[in-house]
């Protein structure tokens, strides 16, 4: 059970942080040195084991520790820029990595010295991840990788990547995959910006041409890549759960504010649409609170997939409403310049950007169609559809 059992435990954690702060004055230390010291003190991700940035505390203890550091004005590790490292790579390395891998990778990952990206999706394998075709062939103590990945956030700033490859095309698709850590500075790694609907290039295409990866950078067993990748994706969904948001937090607040500030734009038809979406957003926000309350008492429910679906629909409908609300102004766009943002900033741009970017919310991190299947099969227990790819060797699958 993942709770901070009592206020006494929470107070112990707080005094531990305060003691650390007394010994490490963040107002005079270099931020990076401070973060390294915090990691070494086990106050980075406190639910990790001692020696790897944690103290083996319950997961819920993190919020207590983070709040205490934040209150002191201590530097943070800029989680937005390295979200993939923290949310996906780190838990995977913790679960499947060797001790040597854990010691090499986790500290610079947490401090933000080394940015991570994720080489999963391919042009021919998005929702059907197990169909991927990027080959890794054994050559002595190395593997040689050939293939192409796509939709890679942060590849242009990443030092390392988590990579799933096909190592045995003779067996059914879920069995012949192997998982690696890929050095993004290795010869043969080529990163090209992928310009998208908004005009900016938040993502990349990554070409892997004869990239050599030492076997020591393999995560998990040969042929066990699907299981490792599943663990990574589970962690991604946990990360989406996120923090509690206040009423009108997020996109609904942006639209509500525009409504309040611009009475001349209001129409009765848009009014009812806005109120419908306000109610939906509030109900979804409460459902998020409920999910967190369930987690806090150690009874996680299956509602997370539904929350992601709700979020995608809400952000699309609210951003569409906002463009219409703006009328003549909705015909304009703020800036089509090719830019390379480190994070998606829904509130820092204008309505047209939000409308276009939100289209991705029902595709990224599991399409709404795949999520509906997951709910139907894993939550409601409905039968799976007949599959054409189950017992067929990967090389014999139609593509």
């Amino acid at each position: 059970m993942s709770t901070v059992d009592s206020e006494g435990d929470a107070e112990d954690l707080r005094s531990r942080v305060r003691e650390f702060l007394r010994e490490h004055d963040h107002t005079v230390m270099e931020p990076l040195d401070f973060l390294r010291a915090r990691f070494d003190a086990g106050l980075a991700w406190v639910h990790f084991p001692a020696g790897l940035g944690g103290i083996g505390a319950p997961r819920a203890a993190q919020a207590v520790v983070d709040a205490e550091f934040e209150a002191a004005g201590a530097p943070d590790n800029n989680p937005r820029r390295i979200g993939i490292g923290l949310g996906m790579a780190a838990p995977t390395i913790l679960q499947f990595g060797t001790e040597e891998q854990q010691r090499r990778f986790l500290r610079p990952l947490w401090t933000g010295e080394e940015v991570w990206c994720q080489l999963f999706s391919e042009p021919g394998a998005g929702s059907d991840l197990a169909a991927l075709g990027t080959r890794a062939v054994r050559d002595g103590s190395d593997w040689v990788v050939e293939g192409q990945k796509v939709w890679t956030s942060g590849a242009h700033v990443a030092r390392w990547a988590i990579l799933v490859t096909r190592t045995d095309p003779e067996v059914p698709k879920h069995q012949g995959m192997t998982y690696f850590v890929c050095d993004m500075t290795a010869p043969g790694v080529e990163v090209r910006p992928l310009r998208q609907i908004t005009g900016e290039a938040e993502f990349n295409e990554v070409f892997l041409n004869g990239v050599r990866i030492p076997d020591a950078q393999r995560l998990g067993e040969i042929g066990d890549g699907w299981r490792v990748a599943q663990a990574t994706l589970m962690n991604e969904r946990v990360a989406i759960g996120g923090r509690p948001t206040p009423r009108e937090g997020g996109m609904v607040g942006v639209v509500a504010q525009t409504w309040r500030e611009r009475p001349e734009l209001r129409t009765p038809e848009l009014h009812d649409r806005l109120l419908r979406l306000w109610v939906e957003a509030e109900a979804a926000r409460l459902a998020g609170d409920r999910l967190r309350q369930q987690l806090a008492v150690g009874r996680p429910g299956p509602e997370g997939s539904a929350m992601k679906l709700a979020f995608a629909r809400l952000s699309q409908e609210l951003s569409a409403l906002e463009v219409e609300l703006l009328g003549e102004e909705g015909l304009r766009y703020d800036d089509w310049t090719l830019r390379r943002p480190d994070l998606v900033d829904f509130t820092g741009r204008e309505a047209g950007y939000r409308y276009l970017r939100a289209k991705g919310n029902s595709i990224e991190g599991g399409t709404s169609e795949v999520l509906r299947n997951i709910i139907a099969e894993r939550v409601l227990g409905l039968p799976t559809e007949p599959r054409a790819d189950k017992d067929v060797a990967w090389k014999d699958l139609p593509r």
């Binding site: 309040r260 500030e261 109610v279 979804a284 409460l286 409601l380 409905l382």
Partner: protein
């Protein structure tokens, strides 16, 4: 520009262990009292309400007195437990006068001076199930839309007027009647057996919650609240009713989802279970998605009501604006995904659709609640 009012704290959205136990007791009782076929036979009979079930619910489980303090003969529980009972009653579509008696009439009386002997006595009898009461307002009445003026009272406490579509009035012994008296608004108790009182059953869309048109012709009454108290009591009762009805809608939707999932798993077409078709799965996943949010919205309303939180008008409006359409959607999908059998009289799906649609109109439609909300959260039209 202002923005929505600040909340006083995150509501507790979970079910406590006590609530979970209570759920099990109510569900067991309802299961013992008959299946959907028996329900169908009952609503077409001369005794559409199951008063034996009602007495057991009230007597053995104390369900009717959950909101009533122990000093007045009730359980001294809260709106959270009451909501839970409504969830189960909605799930089983139990034909009992819980909403009219244990929620609307009881809440109205609890907001009067309960030291008055007739009020205290009536509350005790309502709590134990010895008597059934009902608040004499149309079921469609909306919280926050002014005091009803259809009935006039004389200085001697005699009432004349008509109130249409009153829920649960057909089995009530005592009506709690809002009326305009010589000194302004008042709340009166009227015995349905008294001379000058006519309770004429209407043909209801929802066969499991009966409606009646109440006519009063110089009927004797006892005033239990005057100006201010009476208006506040009616407002509070309707607001509590709206907040709690969301839980009934939640339970109803849950039954529709569970029943439909079970059906599409065992029904084969084109050589496959119907539930293996993606078109069917996605529709059920949508119903599930609505249920996840509806549960949070209904629990938030119940918890803010239980804590007498100032956020109640917002959470109640959100719960009604969200849960009412969610329940209708679940009931409509239940019928569609059952195919032909879903359109038949013999399958209970229609009873659920009828309740869901009637509940959507009850205590304010979603559109009306959205308009109320517009004022509450500073989003003017």
């Amino acid at each position: 520009m202002e923005g929505p009012p600040a909340m006083t704290g995150t509501p507790d959205l979970l079910y406590s262990d006590v609530e979970t136990d209570l759920r099990a007791s109510v569900r067991d009782l309802l299961t013992d009292h008959g299946d959907p076929a028996a329900l169908l036979a009952r609503v077409e009979s001369g005794e559409p309400y199951d008063l034996k079930l009602w007495r057991t619910l009230a007597g053995d489980l104390g369900a009717a007195g959950l909101l009533v303090p122990e000093s007045l003969g009730g359980q001294g529980a809260s709106a959270r437990e009451t909501a839970l009972v409504l969830e189960e009653l909605g799930r089983g579509l139990a034909p009992v006068p819980f909403l009219g008696s244990a929620v609307l009439a009881t809440c109205a009386l609890l907001h009067t001076d309960t030291t008055q002997q007739p009020v205290a006595e009536l509350l005790g009898r309502l709590a134990s199930g010895a008597a059934i009461g009902c608040l004499a307002v149309p079921l469609s009445a909306m919280p926050g839309t002014g005091f009803p003026t259809g009935v006039r009272a004389t200085a001697e406490g005699r009432l004349t007027g008509r109130i249409g579509t009153v829920a649960d009035a057909t089995v009530a012994e005592t009506l709690v009647v809002p009326a305009a008296g010589p000194d302004g608004a008042g709340l009166y108790l009227v015995e349905t057996r008294a001379a000058g009182v006519t309770v004429a059953e209407a043909v209801p869309l929802d066969l499991t919650r009966r409606l009646a048109d109440v006519t009063l012709e110089d009927a004797p009454a006892r005033r239990v609240a005057g100006q201010d108290t009476a208006a506040a009591a009616v407002r509070a009762a309707l607001l509590a009713g709206a907040a709690l009805l969301a839980s009934e809608q939640l339970g109803l939707a849950q039954w529709c989802l569970d029943e439909t999932v079970a059906y599409v798993k065992q029904r084969y077409q084109f050589g496959r279970p119907v539930g293996s078709f993606q078109a069917v799965k996605h529709r059920l996943a949508e119903v599930y998605l609505h249920l996840v949010s509806a549960r949070a919205a209904a629990r938030a309303a119940a918890d803010t009501l239980a804590r007498d939180d100032t956020d109640l008008p917002v959470t109640a409006a959100v719960a009604q604006a969200y849960c009412a359409p969610a329940a209708v959607h679940a009931a409509e999908e239940c019928i569609q995904l059952h195919g032909g059998i879903g359109m038949t009289w013999e399958h209970p799906a229609h009873l659920y659709l009828k309740r869901a649609k009637a509940d959507e109109l009850a205590l304010g439609t979603p559109a009306k609640h959205r308009r109320i909300l517009a004022g509450l959260v500073d989003l003017p039209g």
